[in-house]
Symmetry: C2
Subunit: 477 residues, 2 copies
């Protein structure tokens, strides 16, 4: 267009990025359409260059297709309930090992609720007599701390697993891999939110001695329970199977109760166990997490893949792992969680985003499936329309969709599935996560629930590492 | 506007009603906005005049406010389970009385499935040895047939209640009125869809001898169960508590199971009863109906009120009752049901709309609350958007909204509540009803499910009667 014409005709300007440029146009009575845009990797130049190298890369595309296929083909089944020391090899010996949520972290760096939960677990195991003695022992270096994810396990919030705790054993019948999750204690003052008083420890002992063997007996009668259809049904009943598990818990209950009555357990144990599950709408959460872990582990270890297989938080850092980058964690400081706080608390009281439960979002449910769960906004904040928008937005950063999980409110569209770290870095759209909120001080417990996002820096670091890995592969050729 | 100006200016025509007039305008290159409109009462002049007399009538407005208030204040609670002969006074003596769905109808006029179900009930009661003998007895006049609604009861589809059948007893704790409903048999070949073979009768005997006493014992432990909060929760979990009761059934199950294990029943009876409920996602339907009946009966008997308290179908006629017109039925031929048919069947095989279950729509749930249940369209047809539109459209014909029942997909809006017969006649918007579909021949059973509407003529007749009643009242003054 000749400059002449340009200055004669009426103009409509599209302003990309910084709003400042648009202001002058508008001030001069011009029209301006603002386009929200920011550079890839939120301005990290090296990250953007790394991204440019692997966007559309045929090896990455092929690897992602394989990883996504393995994830979609997974068929997680609850096959058993066993104490951690039996389920997890590293706990079999007499070593004092405690697993925690998120990427690795040393005792002094841990957030309050994680330290509180570890202290409770030490008392539970009888390694110390009192909370004070347990604190000294934890700080002494004579207890080992490792991420749940290093042992095929997941735990919500602090995610503490100690040797005597009963674990759900979830097997992916397609590939044979197994995942483990601890058992949900309910709401209020519970270990996973950092509470550790006598009531908490007594409940955990009772869960190990009464609930676990009773459920094991019921599972013996019912046979293994397929978790994917159960989650799919719950998504059609208002759950997103992360922070809302009311339907999934009721469906599991309906499945277990007749078997439990048939099983060889005392009436007292049966009544107590049924009452415990019936009284906790979050009971299914840990099974949802175990199922997601089993599905995602099936996708791990595909060289070159940029598919995210783990998102987890230790209350300080947020960590992700890719299918293509082995056991490396890519970390960044965890975001705070905005949401609905219980009366008397605010974001100032909150620990940073915490827990392995973001494995649900990694698997395309939880925040990614919020469109299925309009009623969850009463718990985490926002409106049903926000919930639908979260699910729609996640399509921008995923490799495909999971036909096993449908969203009724979106005309039964399949849930977005397989987060592609490249798409996150490229689009600036961050994975959305529904989360409980723990008080930052040990011992207080839950103070709310809300919605947060994974930090960009994890994905940028992961993309850089994947680009380096591709260089190495190409040099070998 | 001067005729001169009229013919000079460009015109935009709004065409009200018949499309034919618009055609000429469009043919002459004019623009025309069609307005869908039809005269009140679908052209019934006397109906429209009667409507004009009672629209905005202060007595009707006051009466409706009272009726709606009593309906909204109702607090239905499951208090017991008892054989029909104990619950229903008219069955206490040795009289051979069978109750059926919808308005009154004589044996020869009944549809196939209702005759089939009655024959099954006669065999169940031992009044005849065989299906053939039962048919002869039914036709002989030596068995009485009366509507469930004449005895405070409701039954889905054929709605057959005979003396030995166990009934749920639902009490409205606010006003003290009681309602009854029979117990859901499950899907497939069942009495309510007109099946009557040995399997059907055997199951009914087992329900009376095992399921009912077991549940009664559980209810003794759990104490009375409040149904309104349970329905409200289910509406937040994808049910509309008419044709989808998956969540409500699971919630009821979760409530009953621990009590059932504690109760003094055999393990065999406990396992069988739990299995029976766990295997039938429609189990809660009859309780939903009982609760709706108890809520609506609270509104009955308010002189001058045009609020609909009953909509029910006997498979031939559709009948409604108003709060202001006592026990009079206003009837019209029942509509066919459009929907999803099981393989091999079509609308040609279907009985007309059948059952007392439209009591749920009368109470503002079921079809009126379809926005809560997007997944129901897999069962009754249509899309989740249709489901939302049904709920929105029903606001045009209701007196108010029920804050106890919210629709998450509509930002937790309260459900439309209290159908105003005047508004139906005035707007031409017909109450939407979700319904099962029975084969028109006795003994075949269910062949599908779908969505239908109540016929206009019932409401026009009701409006005429109410206008006459107001004349009488005004003449007495």
């Amino acid at each position: 267009m000749a400059a002449n014409a340009l200055f004669k005709d009426s103009l409509t300007v599209v302003n990309v990025g910084l709003g400042g440029f648009a202001e002058n146009v508008v001030a001069a009575s011009g029209q301006c359409v603002p386009l929200q845009w920011q550079p890839p990797a939120q301005g990290d130049r090296a990250g953007a260059w790394a991204l440019a190298e692997i966007l559309g890369h045929p090896l990455v595309e092929r690897a992602n297709a394989t990883a996504l296929e393995r994830f979609l083909a997974a068929h997680p089944v609850l096959t058993g309930i066993a104490p951690a020391r039996e389920a997890i090899a590293a706990m079999a010996n007499e070593r004092r090992l405690i697993l925690h949520a998120g990427p690795p972290i040393a005792w002094p760096a841990m957030c309050g609720p994680m330290q509180g939960a570890i202290v409770g677990a030490i008392v539970l195991e009888g390694w110390a007599e009192s909370v004070e003695a347990a604190q000294l022992l934890a700080a002494s270096g004579r207890v080992s701390f490792e991420p749940c994810h290093h042992h095929g396990a997941v735990g919500p919030m602090a995610g503490i697993i100690s040797p005597s705790m009963p674990l759900f054993v979830v097997e992916n019948k397609t590939a044979g891999n197994r995942a483990f999750s601890n058992m949900n204690e309910g709401l209020g003052k519970v270990l996973r939110f950092g509470a550790n008083n006598a009531e908490v420890v007594t409940r955990l002992r009772w869960m190990a001695s009464v609930v676990a063997p009773t459920l094991r007996a019921a599972l013996g009668r019912s046979g293994p329970i397929e978790l994917k259809p159960l989650m799919a049904q719950a998504l059609n009943m208002g759950d997103e199977v992360h922070n809302r598990n009311a339907a999934a818990t009721a469906l599991l209950f309906k499945r277990l109760a007749p078997a439990l009555v048939e099983a060889d357990v005392t009436r007292e144990a049966a009544v107590a166990t049924l009452g415990f599950i019936a009284g906790n709408d979050h009971f299914f959460l840990n099974l949802s997490m175990g199922a997601c872990k089993a599905m995602l582990d099936a996708a791990a270890g595909v060289a070159g893949s940029s598919m995210v297989t783990v998102m987890a938080r230790n209350g300080v850092n947020f960590g992700v792992r890719l299918a293509g980058t082995g056991e490396t964690w890519f970390e960044a400081p965890a975001n705070p969680v905005d949401g609905l706080y219980f009366p008397g608390y605010s974001i100032a009281d909150a620990a940073a985003d915490l827990g392995d439960s973001a494995i649900t979002e990694t698997a395309g449910v939880g925040g990614f499936a919020m469109a299925a769960a309009p009623a969850i906004v009463k718990f985490v904040g926002g409106t049903p329309t926000d919930a639908i928008h979260h699910s729609l937005r996640m399509r921008a950063i995923t490799l495909g969709a999971n036909p096993a999980f449908s969203l009724p409110a979106l005309d039964f569209a399949a849930t977005a599935a397989g987060i592609d770290a490249r798409k996150v870095v490229d689009s600036g759209v961050l994975p959305v996560i529904n989360s409980g909120i723990a008080h930052r001080v040990a011992g207080v417990g839950q103070i709310g629930a809300g919605v947060t996002t994974a930090p960009m820096a994890c994905f940028t670091a992961a993309v850089k590492a994947l680009a380096r890995q591709l260089h190495a592969i190409e040099e070998q050729r």
